[in-house]
Amino acid sequence: MGLSVTDLTIDIAGRRVVDGVSFDVPDGARVGIIGESGSGKSLTALAIMGLLPEEATAGGSIRWNDRELLGLSDRELAGVRGDEIGIVFQEPQTALNPIRTVGRQIAEPIRIHEGASRKEAWARAVKAAERMLLPDPERIVKRYPHQLSGGQRQRVAIAMALVGRPRLLIADEPTTALDVTIQAEILELLRDLVDDAGMSLVFITHDLAVLSQIAEFGVVLEHGKVVESAPVATLLTSPSSPVTQGLLRDATATLWRPEGVS
């Protein structure tokens, strides 16, 4: 059960940008993928969702609950997306459709996967907004994305990803584009939600400090290759790869506490 990525390769325009990446995410686990920008982290996430850009080709194996995802048709993958695996992206600004109400966008996965009526779906969207600790949920769902703050938009994005009750959540740098003060709130929210539902989590970031607050296990990428993969505690106390050491140096510049490490 869970997610199993084996020897994932991604080529774009003849260049190999992800080279033999392997990691496992057992049921209920919280795995972090960390690396500098350009290391291939986001592409890995997109590959799992089947949302790679057209110019990219993927090889290797991505198994989800004993099902091979690579090679499935877009239709079959669409059935998995939002329903079994959800994803939150980095930029709340552009991730939401500017000409649709926030509520309608949250309700959409429910209508797609469960065929719920508009009323039912809307009611669940309001509940989801509530769960996301959005202020005045009944009214906020009627608003448009440009009327919300960055942090609020990201909460909406998380709601959209989770409303279909997926078993796995992928979060691709969800706090990077937000204010420092909001970052902690969003992280805490994510932790709560994942814990409550007993979901697995794949958390992507470039910041080791952030990783330490939410993940148990870390996979370090550089130039599309895995350079180290170990429990977060090990990464923090005795990293073996110079890449990790570099990340640690960057992270110690900010205050952190090794929370969330079992």
């Binding site: 949302l51 669409a78 059935g79 997306r81 939002g82 959409e108 797609i112 994005a157 279909g164």
Partner: protein
């Protein structure tokens, strides 16, 4: 919203005013004695003077302008110098041909350009997409007259399906005949204007494909195509509205030429005849109506776009 509408309305009125000034003074101030033109080369000085007095051309220009504008505001566009008929009445009569022609052309342009534009963007990596783009660009370079001629060769001369010229004398009382005679002209204008629209739609769709929110929509459980259709295209549609005004201007211009080719008794053909015949009063009125129409369409399109785009709908 209403504040915006009022500002735009004010700008529209100013625009109409400036247009009327431009038209009037260009026609009057450019060298060329109108009375002389009408009297012809054989006209004696007395005849010329008589014409000039009858037309009020001896009065100061500004007076003439205000008299014309005053008439326009009352709905009177003047009477023709050549055949004495009311300009307004003639316009209304010819509009029976030109307005349906314009609407049909617009419809054909949209039906042609939007699906193909979207398709060529979705299939942009395969040959079909680039082929459509190149084809559209070539089509946009075609002179509309020639396109009409080629279509006449195929559909009227070789296949004999549609008439090559003319509009039934019975007019719209025989609707099918009327439509039949407008079909080929409308198709001509439609695909030539549509070619340009196609490239715009293609470009806008390619932009939409790359948008993050389309990707998010797919991440929620839609197929990539569904995501594009349901989330990307409405945004594309919005941007198409902004170019609709330009399309209309292009269609009007196309109609002027096409009515000539197909000898359709419409406003365009009448304008050409009047310009050739130096019937200045009519030309004045016709040009004012045409440019006024374009300005009004621009204004309406602006408002519609504003209403449909929630980002602009309310005051900050």
């Amino acid at each position: 919203m209403t504040r915006y509408a009022l500002t735009r309305l004010a700008l529209l009125l100013v625009g109409l005013l400036v247009a009327s000034l431009l038209i009037f003074f260009t026609l009057r101030v450019l060298p060329g004695d109108v009375a002389q033109l009408i009297a012809g080369t054989q006209g004696s000085p007395e005849q010329v003077a008589a014409i000039r007095e009858r037309l009020g051309l001896d009065r100061p220009l500004w007076e003439q302008y205000f008299e014309w504008i005053g008439g326009v505001l009352r709905g009177d566009l003047g009477t023709s110098l050549v055949n004495g008929r009311s300009v307004g009445a003639e316009l209304v009569q010819k509009a029976q041909v030109t307005v349906p022609l314009g609407l049909m052309s617009l419809l054909i342009a949209l039906v042609f350009a939007v699906p193909l534009g979207v398709l060529s963007a979705v299939r942009r990596r395969r040959g079909a997409g680039t082929a459509m783009s190149v084809g559209a660009q070539t089509l946009a370079a075609v002179p509309v007259v020639w396109a009409g001629m080629m279509l006449v060769i195929v559909f009227a001369v070789w296949l004999g399906w549609l008439p090559a010229q003319g509009f039934p004398r019975t007019g719209w009382s025989t609707p099918w005949l009327a439509i039949r005679s407008l079909l080929l002209p409308a198709i001509t204008i439609g695909i030539v204007e549509g070619a340009m629209l196609l490239r715009f739609v293609r470009s806008a769709t390619m932009q939409a494909i790359g948008q993050d929110y389309v990707r998010t929509a797919a991440a929620k459980g839609l197929t990539k195509n569904q995501a594009l259709l349901r989330h990307g295209l409405p945004n594309v549609g919005l941007s198409i509205i902004t170019v609709l005004g330009l399309q209309v201007a292009g269609i009007i211009v196309g109609a002027v030429v096409i009515e000539q080719l197909f000898t359709l008794p419409g406003i365009g053909r009448m304008l050409v005849a009047d310009v050739g015949g130096r019937d200045l009063v009519k030309v004045q009125g016709e040009l004012l109506v045409l440019t006024g129409f374009v300005l009004i369409i621009g204004f309406l399109v602006d408002l519609v776009h504003r209403v449909l785009d929630p980002r602009q709908r309310e005051a900050a």
